[in-house]
Symmetry: C2
Subunit: 381 residues, 2 copies
């Protein structure tokens, strides 16, 4: 270790960089929201290896990676778009691109970063190298559910207008396709991992809306009628994240709104096939990459607990309490481990998904989102 540090110091003096040989396939970033910082973590060593500071307001922050897994683009709630270098462990660029933002995406060719904004509403497109503005797509509405799909395209929805827009950035000017009548007040959306089906959650309806993006003229279809009908049943401490939809075998698993259960939905017909009673109101239902297990965390005040569901029997096979405030979960790419952010314990906890054994605790300051670099190679995140 001391040899490596000396070499790093020498390299800094000679080349203006401390970075020597370092592969990036097993790295990750953990959002430390209270401090506006990112913890750099190494999956193989199960350790933190650095910290990047000065990212502003990171509440509800998310990020995406460049195709080479060297850079991350961090979307802050304050409208900040920050580019960080995980090899050099520093901020390389930062722009305040709006007053209030909610997530972003990177185009399939790695050239463009899109950011979804509440205030002023719309989507802004930036050059991934320089963060220079490339295009502005005003919407007169808060925009939600921004995702990338193949062909230098982005899809997003308009809270106020009940529309979904497809923005094609492959030409000189953005080409917009508008899909109207998707329902009242879309609040979030996701796209399936093949980039084909865009599913929107609606605050003012009792169903969800699905759009098959492979059709020449994509049309909205109502699915899961009555899905939100039970919303009055229990207080909704936190809206479940649509991004928590997980493909387990032939079914999606999704957190039910306002209920202590997850729903199973046939991935092809998008009809409900079952339900599993859970310990609390689920926030994320995350499938292990092979789909055999689904890990579920819960809304406050039951957010100290995790349940693991087997996707063949649909039964809870394991339950444990990592600690107070389990906010996020991320699987290692082939699913052998899961990393949990336990905010109020100031820890990341690492578990083996086969034995359920705890493998490591890593110090972190109020950790929330965990993002491994393997996300660079996935669509629709």
């Amino acid at each position: 270790m001391s040899t490596r540090l000396t070499a790093a110091a020498l390299a800094l003096a000679l080349f203006g960089t401390t970075t020597l040989a370092q592969s990036t396939g097993d790295l990750g970033l953990v959002v430390e929201r209270a401090d506006g910082s990112l913890l750099v973590v190494d999956q193989s060593d199960r350790a933190s290896v650095g910290r990047i500071t000065g990212l502003g307001d990171l509440s509800h922050a998310s990020l995406v990676y460049s195709p080479d897994q060297r850079f991350a683009y961090v979307f802050g709630r304050d409208g900040g778009l920050t580019k960080v270098d995980i090899l050099e462990q520093k901020v390389v660029n930062r722009v305040l691109q709006a007053g209030n933002a909610i997530g972003g995406a990177i185009s399939d060719d790695g050239r463009y970063i899109a950011v979804s904004n509440y205030e002023p509403g719309g989507v802004r497109i930036f050059d991934a190298d320089t963060l220079a503005p490339v295009a502005d797509i005003p919407t007169d509405s808060k925009t939600v559910g921004l995702v990338d799909i193949p062909g230098t395209r982005f899809v997003f929805s308009l809270w106020d207008a009940g529309e979904t827009w497809i923005a094609d950035l492959s030409g000189a000017e953005p080409e917009i396709t508008k899909i109207t009548g998707i329902g009242t007040n879309p609040y979030d959306a996701l796209v399936t991992s093949d980039g084909r089906t865009y599913i929107t959650g609606l605050f003012g309806e009792d169903h969800l809306t699905a759009i098959d993006l492979w059709q020449d003229t994509p049309e909205p279809t109502a699915i899961l009628d009555g899905y939100s009908a039970g919303r009055e049943g229990l207080p909704v401490y936190k809206m479940p994240h649509l991004e928590g939809w997980a493909l387990a075998g032939h079914e999606f698993v999704l957190p039910a709104v306002g209920q202590h259960e997850v729903l199973w939905v046939d991935a092809r017909s998008l009809t409900q096939t079952g339900r599993t009673e859970t310990y609390g109101q689920p926030i994320f239902a995350m499938a292990r990459p092979d789909g055999r297990q689904v890990w579920v965390n819960f809304a406050h005040p039951l957010n100290d607990t995790i349940q693991v569901i087997d996707s063949v029997t649909k039964e809870v096979i394991h339950q444990f309490s990592p600690g107070p405030g389990v906010l996020h979960m991320e699987f290692t790419p082939r699913g052998r481990e899961i990393w949990l952010s336990v905010r109020d314990a100031d820890k990341i906890m690492v578990y083996d998904t086969q034995s359920f054994e705890k493998l490591r605790e890593i110090d972190a300051s109020s950790p929330s989102g965990i993002f491994f670099t393997s996300r660079a190679h996935k669509m629709g995140l």
Copy 2:
């Protein structure tokens, strides 16, 4: 460029390494079989960035990556198992582990490398760090179709015995589960990308065999009866690779044996749903990562041509002739580009999958297999 070379030379003198900051997410290796070398390529730059020599006989060679995407394990037909460092661009270890080998895999925890051997028949397990032998699983048969599945397990089949074995390496000694009666002379196999369904090609039967590995007692099931019945119809210049099965939408696409067509198979029921006539006998039918397109190459003497099939209409939408001897295809992780090995032109050719435009030619010596580092994060390769 000159600055970088100078820095690299300085780094070599000071640290014994030429490697400075280099992310590994967009790198890859191309097998140069005639020279026993590997070309190191950079997807973002669309360029070769180095060459690693001294790997022995690389005919039918394949490779897998370590979870951090720094190391590759190369399986040579001569029984050589070679570990290369793609950052340092050199061989770091090499063992001759058998007389005649056919592929390998890496366990889901990254700890073990398994190699499938013809002579002597069986599977050998090595430590991924040191290549020290860990376990020997003799089979009294040629072994084929070796894949990794979750839980430090490997699955493979026995040509002579018509059996599929599951080897569990999670404990102190390998635990073997034998599935008998899978059919006569399995010659290759694959596992679906979720690690659930293991499908075996049989040289002596007119069907394939599927095994659901999620069942407590996995049983073989005959699928696609009559699949090989037409084998006499045309000379089989080259057996199609089962690894060429691609998931496109809700269907698998597979090269038909001895016919000028690909077959479409429902991914859930594993029954045939359609066929598409092709230019020649397909070798690989590869789905773009989003599944919307299937790219097909062909057996000699029609191996100068590529056809692209749309997976909604199942029709050929594009055909072109990159050059003589198109041996292999690899998509960039989110599918925007495809890289082709054109052996007899001594070129790798890079195409945009949206516009079909050729983006670059890269010199390579008789290139065959192309392997991008994103494979590190996938199961069952």
